[in-house]
Amino acid sequence: MENAKSDVLIIGGGVIGCSIARELSKYQCRTILLEKDEDVCSGTSKANSAIVHAGYDAKTGSLKAKLNVQGNLMMEPLAKELDFDFKRNASMVLCFDKEDMPALQALYERGVANGVPGLKIISGEEARQMEPNLSDEVVSALYAPTGGIVCPFGLTIALAENAFENGVEFFFNTKVLEIVKNENGYLVKTNRGDFETTYIVNAAGVYADEFHNMVSEKKIHITPRRGDYCLLDKEAGNHVSATIFQLPGKYGKGILVTPTVHGNLLVGPTAIDQEDKDGTATTAEGLAEACEKATKSVKNVPFRQVITSFAGLRAHEDNNEFVLGEPEDAEGFFDAAGIESPGLSCAPAMGLYLAEMVAEKGKFEKKADFKATRKGIVKAAELSREERAALIKEKPEYGTIICRCENISEGEIVDAITRPLGARSLDGIKRRVRQGMGRCQAGFCTPRTMEILSRETGIPMEQICKNSNGSEMIRG
């Protein structure tokens, strides 16, 4: 990496890293983003509840609260600017016991103090009128009209593509091994050579403590907190319309039931602290716990319609607070560490917050030619019949359906691969266009998609991967 001398080097291509990259791309500075996997959105950002929280959870006055409420507000205009899926579907926190009402009231008051608009406490009856499948045991609920759901892949990829278009350089399969302070800033050693940079942004998710601790004596420790989820078929997607939380009570921390922005139903997560930072294996106990707790909130969840289950890791910092900004003893090193829930909701605001901090430090000037908008991949199935017919006439590859369940055409898959920062793996395609995310879970379309990926990229079939290196699909 001869020329790899940057003003800012971002470690981590998750939603936070990409949000910071996109905000920094508004400035006249050279920004490089390093990602250890083959694509952005490969860690915590890809496996979470996909919720945009209203902002009543975090302690009033905390940065978490401020960024949450601000991030929630920013999400809607950002979704329009960058063309990703976001929906304000509202949320409810359920209370099952009259004795817990003071806690619900406290949550309401905290939300009001945090500046969350439209909050109200409703009766169990009112809640059931809005959500007929809610449990009969619900006595009261906190209703938050600003709660939302987002496609976390769509958001992260949109931020990355827009940052890329505005000049941020992305290096994939690039794992940071060592960080050395030098007179100009930092030398970052990776498996793909050395990078020189003036500033570092540490957005490495569950690994952020490792990089922080390379440069600072004020050690932090991040615990990967695993959450198991079940995703249900779109036929179950209307079971609830709002995101349904449980008020933490004597049965422990609750789990949520929510529609996803694409119309599936999501149930989870559990919370298991572990050491393994790649340990995204679900367990039978975890999946059973998620399902069992879900039935406390919502009646008759059709668990027979589960189409997949997965686990995600939250980057839980021991002090339970986001670690943002420069440590006292590591000038020019900016942490975005310990980003667990509501990290996804905060992402737009956190990107802005940290980018401004770095820009101020580096005295970067704003660019005149920043391009704020990005067009996503066309969703042929969502077009009107006339529009779809016209599209196929112009580009016949949109007439070849590859993924039957989600109705995804070859044109969309080719776009996912050939656009800037295009997909290089099956999961990369899946996260961009939902190929294989339907009820057959890629049974029919896997061979076809592998062929298209190989054809468009020149990657031989034997080297086509599900995601990172080592996940080859074929072994002869």
């Binding site: 294996a281 196929i392 590859e397 007439g399 890629a442 062929e451 080592g470």
Partner: protein, 451 residues
């Protein structure tokens, strides 16, 4: 709008046989819509032999069997459209189809034959815990990659589920040089045909572990191993029985699901047991002029029976076109028709809800070890001279009889040494046998233990 008399959704074995029969039955304006680039459906990847013993009295491979029907369809001059994916069918029988060549078309049909086949149950639907690495394939996907695309999916293989495709793939992978370590089956019996267990497992020394399931999948990039455990009568893993297998591939053959998204969206009544539409003896759904056959109706073991069933659907679709709906019943325009939903009985034994009207319709009820029947009703006046009622049993039974009752009166009893869910059974109902029962309401098919 483009119009056709009969549009057949799917150009696999069911669609092809239906098309040929409809044409021979006098229908002239037929179109087959096939989503793949060739006709023949899944048969194209089934390169093993064993097809056609009933239909052609010889043993053919899947592609050979398909090619016989493709030849007939071509000789009959039946038009077909390839690479054409039907994305919607509405109640007015307007079919929306998308293809590279023709763009987005809406085709209006007088009659539709549903022949979309089925899909495999994926890992996600089985809720197997563990990692989500590469190397987990449904058996059919692996079969396509190996047999059509020419790519081996792995070297050390564990197979979960003993459905026929899994058994066939155990042999196929072995012949291609892979080591198939074990086939595990959740149930205490195999879901596949006995002959496949003998020819695909026993002949190659591949162990079959009944009452076992996969309780963990390891490997962050590619599968590195799995853990099997024995399950109890509740089908839950028994702690302490875990056994580790290192492998790079896990194949799943855990059941087939009829692909009825289009059917459901058009509002056709479904049978929750078969996951297919409810049909009468003409294989007509409760939407007039819409017929179903093959694996979209219920999952078959043998393609020969698919062809036979599909031919019946094709003949009836042709009659519907030639004589119209009211006359297919043979009783004149005023006679009440036997609609498919009339056969739906309460009590859940054959799925669905109680019949509403329909006078001349006889419900066919599955009971006591018979899980379902296809069809679920018949019309004694209009029915063919004989109809075949197909069904599966709920468990492995030894020394039981298959009994047929007309309104509670025992009509026939056939002894069976072994009955198994993996083998489809059938009884034949003769029109002549119904003559003595003018007020017949219900035919019951049940298993009974030998006393």
């Amino acid at each position: 709008m483009i119009q056709h008399d009969i549009v057949i959704i799917g150009g696999g074995p069911a669609g092809l046989a239906a098309a040929a029969a409809a044409k021979k039955g006098g229908a002239d304006d037929i179109l087959i819509l096939e989503r793949d680039g060739v006709l023949g459906g899944i048969l194209n990847q089934c390169i093993h032999n064993g097809f056609g013993l009933h239909t052609f009295k010889e043993e053919l491979t899947g592609p050979e069997y398909a090619s016989r029907f493709i030849k007939i369809v071509k000789e009959l001059g039946i038009p077909y459209q390839l690479n054409s994916m039907v994305i919607d069918i509405n109640k007015e029988k307007e079919i929306t189809v998308v293809s590279r060549e023709n763009g987005l078309q809406v085709i209006k049909a007088k009659s539709i034959i549903l022949a979309m086949g089925c899909r495999e149950r994926p890992r996600g639907a089985l809720n197997i815990p563990g990692y989500r690495p590469a190397g987990i394939y449904t058996a059919g996907t692996a079969q396509r990659l190996v047999n059509i695309e020419g790519h081996m999916v792995g070297k050390e293989v564990v197979i979960l589920g003993s459905g026929d495709i899994g058994l066939i793939m155990a042999r196929r992978m072995t012949l291609e040089g892979a080591k198939v370590k074990v086939v595990a089956e959740l149930m205490p019996y195999s879901g596949g045909l006995k002959r496949n267990i003998v020819q695909c497992l026993d002949d190659f020394g591949i162990p079959l572990k009944l009452s076992h399931t996969v309780v963990n999948i390891e490997g962050k990039g590619r599968v590195t191993g799995i853990t099997l455990a024995e399950v109890g009568p509740d089908r839950k893993p028994i702690p302490g029985t875990e056994e580790h297998y290192s492998c790079d591939t896990l194949l799943l053959s855990c059941g087939l699901i009829p692909e009825n998204e289009l059917t459901r969206n058009m509002g056709v009544s479904m049978n929750p047991v078969t996951s297919g539409p409810m049909v009468n003896d003409r294989l007509e759904t409760d939407t007039e002029g819409v017929f179903a056959c093959g694996n979209v109706l219920h999952v078959h073991d043998l393609v020969d029976y698919v062809s036979e069933e599909a031919a019946l659907a094709g003949q009836n679709a042709a009659k519907y076109i030639l004589y119209g709906a009211s006359k297919t019943s043979g009783n004149g325009a005023d006679a009440p028709r036997c609609s498919a939903d009339a056969g739906i009985c309460t009590g859940g034994s054959n799925g669905g809800t109680e019949s509403s009207s329909a006078g001349a319709c006889v419900a066919i009820r599955a009971e006591n070890g018979v899980r379902y029947t296809v069809p679920q009703s018949l019309d004694p006046a209009a029915m063919a001279e004989k109809i075949t009622v197909r069904f599966r049993v709920a468990d492995v039974y030894k020394d039981r009889s298959i009994c047929v009752y007309y309104d509670g009166k025992l009509i026939s009893k056939k002894k069976k040494r072994v009955l198994a869910p993996g083998e489809m059974e059938q009884v034949v109902i003769l029109k002549s046998s119904l003559a003595e029962y003018p007020d017949l309401k219900e035919i019951t098919i049940r298993t009974e233990e030998e006393s």
